[in-house]
């Protein structure tokens, strides 16, 4: 590729990347601005008079450590469960031949098609009946399986050539061994995607803590706890943007870290040579 074309391509790409990232730079800068500066100079990507009040409020004067621990517990638990259960189900839907397969997949899609907001109160009623309120189980179990994850894994399993499983089966492996030893390692990009999205989804969950643990502050997760800071007044007139943005940055940070760490593994994809004659 001629040098000029390559340079232009990189320029465009970098400009696009910066456009995607700049708003966060601004949010970060805003967390260090005093409130009146936010009102008068909202667009400047650096604070004129840096003030650490927002970060103090969030990190020191709140239950931040407790919320983080709770979130880690819930998110890691739910993500691991999802990884295991979603891929099992996805594989069954993609590759195994059993009666009712189509119906179950239809059910999975149908579940996705119901707008989640309408389920707020019904879910609460169900969880109440099951005595899962105000507990960690009530936060983790409902998140242990999700329809999107099953859908994702099914599609990735379907993208694999069937020869591999046939070969393993002929070699004498039973179904689970085939799944665990041969197929699963091949969908590593799919598993990584599922991990990232599951971590993100369960970490950012807000409605579930609201209905399950709102009355027990010792169970509060980070996004929920942070939403109690900085807001006030009717209709947003007295929103404390630096505090709220500090909270949202803290919420974003772990997910971003997970992404940065895991996306390396995208490079090492399918083992070439797995398809042998």
């Amino acid at each position: 590729m001629p040098a000029v074309r390559r340079a232009t391509a990189y320029l465009v790409l970098t400009a696009a990347a910066l456009a995607f990232v700049y708003p966060f730079v601004l949010s970060f800068a805003t967390t260090f601005k005093p409130r009146d500066e936010v009102a008068t100079h909202p667009v400047l990507p650096w604070p004129l008079m840096p003030d650490s009040r927002a970060w103090e409020n969030v990190l020191v004067h709140s239950d931040f450590p407790l919320w983080t621990l709770n979130s880690l517990l819930v998110t890691i638990g739910a993500t691991l469960l999802r990884l295991f259960l979603d891929s099992l189900a996805g594989y069954a839907l993609a590759r195994l031949d059993w009666r009712g397969r189509g119906a179950v997949f239809g059910l999975v899609l149908a579940i996705l098609a119901v707008p989640p907001i309408v389920l707020t109160v019904p879910r609460f009623l169900v969880l109440k009946e099951m005595m899962l309120l105000n507990s960690y189980a009530g936060l983790i179990l409902p998140l242990a399986v999700d329809a999107v994850g099953i859908f994702i894994m099914k599609q990735f399993f379907e993208g694999l050539p069937k020869e591999l499983e046939e070969a393993a089966r002929i070699d004498g492996a039973n179904i689970f061994q085939t799944y665990w030893r041969v197929v699963l390692p091949l969908v590593r990009p799919g598993l990584i995607t599922l991990t990232i999205l599951s971590f993100q989804g369960t970490w950012n969950e807000f409605l579930l803590p609201l209905i399950v643990v709102r009355a027990s502050p010792e169970h509060w997760t980070l996004p929920f706890g942070l939403s109690t800071l900085g807001r006030g007044g009717a209709g947003g007139q007295t929103w404390d943007y630096p505090v709220m943005l500090a909270g949202s940055i803290l919420t974003i940070l772990p997910v971003a870290v997970i992404f940065i760490v895991l996306q390396r593994f995208f490079v090492r994809g399918i083992a070439s040579g797995a398809v042998k004659g």
Binding site: D36, G232, G235
Partner: protein
Amino acid sequence: MRIFLRAKAFSAAAVLLLAVAGCGDDGSGDGGGTQTGATLSMYAFSSSPAEDAVLRKVIDDYNKLGRNTVNLNILPEYDTALQTALAGGSPPDVFYVNDNKLPDLAKAGTLEPIGDKVDNPEDFYESLRNSFTYNGTYYCPPKDFSTLQLVYNVDELAAANVEPPTTWDELSAAAKALTKPNRPGLALNAEFYRWGVFLAQAGGWPTDDGVTKMTMDAAPVAQALQYVTDLHKSGYAADVKAVGTNWGGEALGKGKTAMTIEGNWIVGAMKTDFPTVKYGVAELPAGPSGKGTMAFSVCYGVAKASRNKAAATDFVKFLVSPEKQLEFTKQFPVMPSRKSLADQWLADKPELKAFVAGGDYAKKSVFVPGFKTVVDTLNDGIQGLAKGNKPVAEVVSSTQSAGKDVLGG
């Protein structure tokens, strides 16, 4: 196999629930007498960190008295949280009730009427008591209130040699004198909860006092709407969104306007976000029918399903006692709901006299359950009026018919 497991879980839960329901009383047999030793739960929403701190302190004071113990939960997404708790049948004993939610809650039978059980119920402003009365029952005592008045930039008015207007004509003249290129003299949110003050000043209102009939088609309503629309058309007034802000306080603070119509909460916002802007508060100009404004309030509701109603009532009495009310409101812009406290509250903030004065003639901004659709339609129409792409007659008729759908009249 999974169906079997699920059935087991449900039946186990059902057995447990039945057992729990069997013992314990439902708390409805309390006559007089104070119940003691109860643990109460309370839901509230956050007003500001400082006000939250005062609330916690007052609750501490109550707990120290040793009669009962109160656990407070200050929650985000308050409406959703409260509703979920109510739907589940185990609501908090005491909770904040926004005035515009009172009809829905009362109609659904969720509130225990305790309005008359507090000390000196006549001491509360009548307009506020009306806000929390539904079908003749006065449900809960208001904790504080805000009214809308005219908030203006002192320096701007002085520079233009304009006094705060006291009539509609003076308002038009003032807005005109204060208008600069790209800077309307008056800016307000294009919604019923601001424009409504003009309806009140003209002697009109979307419904009659009992909220049984729509009265949008009465002449004063069209007159008021036309007056404000004309101000917008001439460029002397504008929607706050049209000048790139979200609400009146922001417009005033950022210098996008010289006057706005807002409530007490603007005081806190100006102090933190726009400390350099000098502002003043004046009573809204009187219209053809006199002065008019709207009041917004919150009360302490006691759940009908609560098992500790007597204890909860005792707690609420404590909260609305004059000393505690003053403690709640002294340093903050919200006003005490007891008339007797008005002077003490104003003692160190005389400049906010106009807000307090509104308490005497404010109209309640409360309707009936399911009326939100109608208010939305009216807001939709007002946005059109402010933008200039809807005629007043159309707004009146669409709101009138939407209201008829809900009121059944």
